[in-house]
């Protein structure tokens, strides 16, 4: 598959992404994607053989981009609290965005492919998140910004909370206020009282 088809492949992935964002995973058929892409039925099969594969490739792409984002915005002069705040702000944005979010598709996908594998994508992302947050909290402790007796527990707590809020955002709506309150609660649990 040459240059040209790599472009088309990407086009299909981009278009399919919109479809998944709109309809989740289980409701999306190959036909839906074919129609969204305005290509022929057989044409899609030249590039992908199932909605599974398509979503998975989209997720891998996103994962790379996310990794970049994660570390990208941090400047050397930022304090731990600044970085944490930034991180939570990012998460909040993602949480509340309705359009364009793959959240539901991702959950549906992983429900349909349940695995207790330690190397499954959700698990790796959780572990990575905990690791980064733990380091950050420890950095904050070292710098005197944070007080925390169990940095790993706190890091896990944040990850679980974010996940929980994500779910509530998708299943019953969650207001910005609710998110802000909880993020504030988390920050105040860490920051050393003046």
């Amino acid at each position: 598959m040459g240059e040209k088809s790599a472009q088309k492949r990407q086009y299909i992935l981009d278009t399919a992404r919109k479809v998944f964002a709109e309809k989740g995973f289980k409701n999306v058929t190959m036909k839906d994607i074919v129609e969204a892409c305005n290509i022929s039925r057989g044409g899609l099969y030249l590039y992908f053989e199932s909605t599974d594969q398509i979503l998975l490739e989209i997720l891998h792409m996103e994962a790379e981009e996310t990794d970049d984002l994660f570390t990208g915005h941090i400047s050397k002069t930022d304090t731990a609290a600044d970085i944490l705040t930034l991180f939570l702000k990012e998460q909040k944005k993602e949480l509340l965005q309705e359009q364009n979010s793959l959240t539901v598709a991702v959950y549906e996908y992983f429900f349909a492919h349940r695995s207790t594998d330690k190397n499954s994508m959700p698990r790796k992302q959780f572990d990575a998140g905990v690791r980064v947050l733990e380091k950050l909290i420890q950095a904050g402790i070292s710098s005197g910004e944070f007080y925390c007796e169990d940095p790993k527990g706190a890091a896990s707590n944040i990850m679980y909370v974010l996940e929980g809020m994500k779910i509530y955002a998708q299943t019953c709506g969650i207001t910005e206020k609710m998110v802000d309150e909880q993020l504030l609660y988390i920050m105040q649990g860490l920051i050393v009282d003046v």
Copy 2:
């Protein structure tokens, strides 16, 4: 609807529950339920018109039973910490149970019926949970067992964490150890140091 058909209705719900527990929501067809119940295709339609309706009725049933459970086990002499511990233990059990759990079905259902309605079932359960936990924490504060500057924040935190862990339990496996660590983290954040 007479006595007899109420029984059959209940029989269908009970049987369908097992099907949903095993296969989630999106993978369950009317045919699946018909076969599990050993009734005729048309027969099922006399009682229910869609898998949606069936799952919803199951959930309503469960909600009632859960409410009973929630308040049922508490004896007057229990301390706030005891009650909270008991509650978390219950949640842990539910979290880790693989068999017999409607978790995935419920998520799939509410993903398929996303709503920002404040009276949606997940929202009501979340709000109810927060309310109960908040009261409990305040009771603990009054009795000197707990220290907490933001009882509502803490209560929400617990609910989000539980939700987050539930998801991780279903999407990538979560070990008992991981749950225990986080529940410990939560309790220690509340309990007054000796």
Copy 3:
């Protein structure tokens, strides 16, 4: 499946038989049968799940009927030569009939399901044919009608010849004259010269 559906099942088999007789096996799709039967796409699947299964059932039916025919027409007073002549006449009729013949379908089926199994249908029919013919020839020898040093070889010879003529009949046409000549050759090889 009750009384009524047994009728329909039979109706489908009868109709499908015509389709196979006309188009062979590999060219027949479930759709062809659906259309010939004037039933719905899904309807056919209530009774059969593949063209394989349908043809196989037709063949089993035919096999039973054939068994009956084989032994049915023989009267006690017939001589061995009479019976053999009758048998060959039957075979000739089947050989030359163009309409209504499953021959091609059968070959196509067994090419597609090649097996060296001793209990495969073609093998069983060959063995049975040889056995019957051998007995017949021996009876003819006993009665002084036939002369033959190797009754089993002669019996096999007849079966192979019939099979070979069947093939030629289907692949390139074989005239009645050609068949008659060969059958005559066979009979004269057996019959004791006057």
Copy 4:
């Protein structure tokens, strides 16, 4: 068509032959051949327009080679019985060979292109076979090796038997012993008793 493309044409035919030998005729698609040849989809169409055409050309090639073989091995000093034995031995080898045999493909092809044409390939091969065998038998009679009242009948008999055994070889397996027994039966029917 230049030198180069004649080579490629031959390459395609040789490669396709293997495919047909392995999968028969009806199961082979243009795609199969394209893939086996490692050429482009469109490329194949520059040389051939259907699997029909490809197989037919293969068969024409083989027919020429076979003719050569038929007459090639005979030395002037061989007796009629020697030649016949040699011929039957060749046929036996072809019959029992599983790999590399186009037998099934050929049958499937001619089933799909049934014709009563006297000039169809199978018919021509049958007629040619009968002619050669008849001459051979007559030669044997002249030389006192064979006794036969109906040389043409005997020749046809052999051709039918070979065809029948070919079919049984492909549809249900035929053992070497079975073939040997029948060939022996044929030879003994011809050879003058000592």
